[in-house]
Amino acid sequence: MPSGGDVLAPTPRTITVECRFFARYAQALGRDALTLELPASATVADAVRELRRALPAAGVLPERPLAAVNREHASLDGRLAHGDELAFLPPLAGG
């Protein structure tokens, strides 16, 4: 009989999140979406760092941008899961 360890699925080493950009950010980046691969334990802040490293125009994103995960406001230390929708929101000006 195999031991319990043998039937465990391997822990994924990376996740992908769907990034979305709006308004001024979308304009500066020239795009409104991007799929980002991140370490499995990544936070929103890690995603910001990775974007700023990978995209030349991502300097438009402040170090601490407003963000939403799966359409809810999220803090920068919120942990991301595979398949999350991660949106970067310029300062809000509704109404």
Binding site: F22, A68, R71, E72, H73, P90, L92, A93, G94, G95
Partner: protein
């Protein structure tokens, strides 16, 4: 009626949506596009949004108001796209048996909407120029 609309907001329809013989007080807030920016006369504002989130966030804000003022019923809409000067961009209507709740619920939803809805404004000037307006 969706929380986002690309057509002119009909405040009367929102008020009718919350009307009821037992809710004697109705308070409506309408926010309209203002002119008078520093760089010249604004003729319109182009509103863009993270639409799926606006719908969810408006729903959460209204649910919070409902929890705090259980007798109040709230309807709300944000207009998106190009909105000419003077036309409504947002409307929030609250009805309740007593006016105190109607005022409080309306005010609360307006303040939270302004603070939390992912909506952005691009000012359109008479000379064709544009500028993002961020508070």
């Amino acid at each position: 009626m969706g929380y986002c609309t690309h057509e002119p907001i009909e405040v009367g329809r929102l008020m009718a949506a919350v009307a009821d013989g037992e809710r004697g007080g109705t308070v409506a807030f309408v926010g309209s596009v203002r002119g008078g920016a520093e760089d010249g006369p604004v003729v319109a504002i182009e509103y863009s949004a993270y639409e799926e989130m606006v719908a969810e966030e408006f729903g959460r804000i209204i649910a919070e108001a409902r929890e705090r003022w259980p007798e109040a019923v709230v309807a709300a809409q944000h207009r998106l796209g190009q909105v000419p000067l003077g036309e409504p961009s947002i409307a929030v209507v609250a009805a309740a048996p007593h006016r105190r709740e109607a005022f409080a619920a309306c005010r609360h939803v307006v303040e939270e909407a302004k603070r939390r809805l992912p909506v952005w404004k691009k000012e359109q000037f008479q000379d064709g120029g544009t500028r993002w307006r961020e508070h």
